[in-house]
Amino acid sequence: MRRTVTAWWFFSLLTMAALALGGIRGSQAEEAAPTPPTPPAVTPATMAEAVSDGLSKILMGGAPSTVADLKAMQERVQKLSDKLMLATVGVQVGQAQGSGVIVSKDGYVLTAAHVSGNPGRDVTFIMSDGKTLKGKTLGLNRTIDAGLMKIAEGSDFPSVEMGLSNILKDGQWCLATGHPGGYQPDRKPVLRMGRVLLSDNSTITTDCTLVGGDSGGPLFDFDGKVIGINSRIAGPINANMHVPVNTFKDTWDRMVKGDAWGHLPGNAPYLGVKGDADSKEAKIATVFPDTPAAKAGVMVGDLIISVNEVAVADYVAFQKMINDHQPGEELKLKIKRGDMDVEIKVKLAKRGG
């Protein structure tokens, strides 16, 4: 049973870094969001057309019961699909291939954090007509798998609005697009239809089927507004997970600034020490054997003075500083050991890895 819950992150077809730790970690505690949200200016709802009461009830979670109901739904999707396809882009960041969605005329693109990887990276966007445009990755919240990017050349891009992910109803009908398996020149973005099965602040689960390459692509409501970003899957066909779009709106300014925070599940950094709770300084109480700290020669009793030349106030601050780095990064620690000053380089490992 346990095996069915493991979520597989959509690392691109080319990036083979295994990241197979499942579960959805609560992320709210880690983000005491400081900046007041400033979502981007959006055009007034153009899609908000008169919808019959019957159809609107179905779209918000009801089941169609007649062929007429099905036709009404179909007509709506057919009407929306061109616009949704135009705003769906293929993205290439380094070796990673994924999808994205343009949410402003000036070229802000939502994607998944595990597609963009880091802020400031070069991105190639592939528009629905196959044209390629250059751009950069901006901020990312790795814990929830949200990433922002911007197209750097051109203007007046085909865009869609961000909707609301906090008022989703179980059973609400939705649409997903993206480039499963990676962008293919002879294939437009691929449409899937399904329903919201579960949703909370960190994850929307639907039965819009997803697979590698869809990462970063949009989940839409039947008004054609983005309600989520494709993120990961588990074994069952109806376990397709998306990042709720509100997380982008709530952290928009940080994202635009290029802040990166949190860790993808299974990708937290690990040093291998424990602090002395009684000390007011960053004093090491335990060095666990066979860890990066032990291998680099960190010793019990060491006082950590700085990390990469940034002064350390106490052990809690030290822990936070470590947590701001990624596994594989090399850090320079300045240490006071007795009356000696010691400098140690240590390469962070992956927690649990």
Partner: protein, 356 residues
């Protein structure tokens, strides 16, 4: 490290509950209430749908295309003793009378008259986002979905054995066998000389490579191999380039793995001249039958469960263009000795090192 694993267990457990919840959700797309809305849609086409069993196993669905007992289905699922169950409950033995390998379609014949024939959609193919239903023999459809991508050619990937041949255009001698490859699994060794593939002589590196590329991953080829003074028969089940590359590096093939999540795929699932992609979740044994629009008109024949997010159907117009030849016997049911597959000019990815 241990602490972390333990700390994750509750999260996993929570996810387990929620996903189990999802599976039994009141509100998924294929909920009975939604399927029931399609009863009128499939009421006519289900009468023209047959359940095909091969050697007692449910193998495919089929579509009655001629009142005199002609039934269209997916060729590669058909083998052995064929039986067709009709909507009225009759179970009839069937003969294979035609086969079109590029589309993977087969024509069966049962001894019956005045059967209800499927009704083709005459209008253009339905646009992206259109509802589709796959009728079975019952009042609810087998499955439902929408058009994901309009019709396009689905290229067949090359098959690979995973050997590096010597640079010799006279003799097809293996220089090395890559780790975990199809060739290694079949027991091929460096210095082996391949003289025949499925009965066809191969001389030299290029012929070896071209011949193997004529087959798809998953297909099995029979080789005659000269090893020293011995002559051996070797059966190799070909792999994709990506499988070969991953196995050689000792890494799992993530794309293939993800596509396998959520259900089995058709063995033959690529290499079609034209196919509509839709998001209906089908079992491989649910392919071969009609796919209808909301008016109950047949827009195509389901031809493959191709991935976690995709099923393919050969469009009605394409199928209709070969129906007469399949019925008349012009397209022989005998598998051709030399395969003519629809291949891309260039493989989509280059191997890290040149295999085969």
């Amino acid at each position: 490290m241990k602490m972390m694993r333990l700390a994750l267990v509750p999260a996993l457990f929570a996810a387990l509950l929620s996903i189990t919840g999802a599976v039994s959700a009141q509100a998924d797309r294929s909920h009975n209430r939604v399927l029931a809305a399609f009863r009128d849609v499939v009421s006519e086409s289900s009468k023209s749908t047959v359940q095909i069993t091969c050697d007692g196993q449910k193998s495919a669905l089929g579509a009655i295309v001629d009142a005199n007992g002609f039934i269209l289905t997916k060729a590669s699922e058909i083998k052995g003793k064929i039986e067709c169950q009709l909507h009225d409950g009759r179970k009839l033995e069937a003969q294979l009378v035609g086969r079109e390998p590029n589309m993977d379609l087969a024509m069966l014949k049962v001894d019956a008259k005045d059967l209800p024939v499927i009704s083709w959609r005459e209008a253009d193919a339905p646009p992206v986002g259109s509802w589709l239903a796959t009728p079975g023999l019952h009042k609810d459809p087998v499955a439902i979905g929408v058009v994901s991508v309009s019709a396009r050619k689905i290229s067949a990937p090359f098959g690979y054995m995973g050997v590096m041949p010597e640079d010799d255009e006279a003799v097809a001698r293996i220089a090395s066998v890559s780790r975990g490859s199809a060739a290694e699994k079949a027991g091929l060794l460096a210095k082996d000389v391949i003289t025949k593939i499925n009965g066809k002589e191969v001389k030299g590196r290029k012929q070896l490579v071209d011949t193997i590329h004529g087959y798809q991953p998953g297909e099995t080829v029979e080789l005659i191999v000269q090893r020293g003074t011995e002559e051996l028969n070797v059966r190799v089940t070909l792999m994709s380039l990506s499988q070969i590359a991953h196995n050689d590096r000792g890494q799992p093939d993530r794309a293939e793995f993800q596509n396998s999540l959520g259900g089995a795929l058709s063995d033959r699932r690529a290499g079609f001249p034209l196919a509509i992609q839709h998001d209906t979740v089908l079992r491989p044994s649910e392919c071969g039958g009609p796919l209808v629009d909301l008016d109950g008109k047949v827009i195509g024949i389901n031809i493959a469960r191709a991935g976690r997010v995709e099923s393919y159907a050969i469009p009605a117009a394409t199928v209709k263009s070969i129906l007469a030849d399949l019925i008349s016997g012009k397209l022989s049911p005998m598998p051709t000795a030399e395969k003519v597959a629809d291949k891309p000019a260039i493989p989509t990815a280059e191997p890290e090192k040149k295999v085969q």
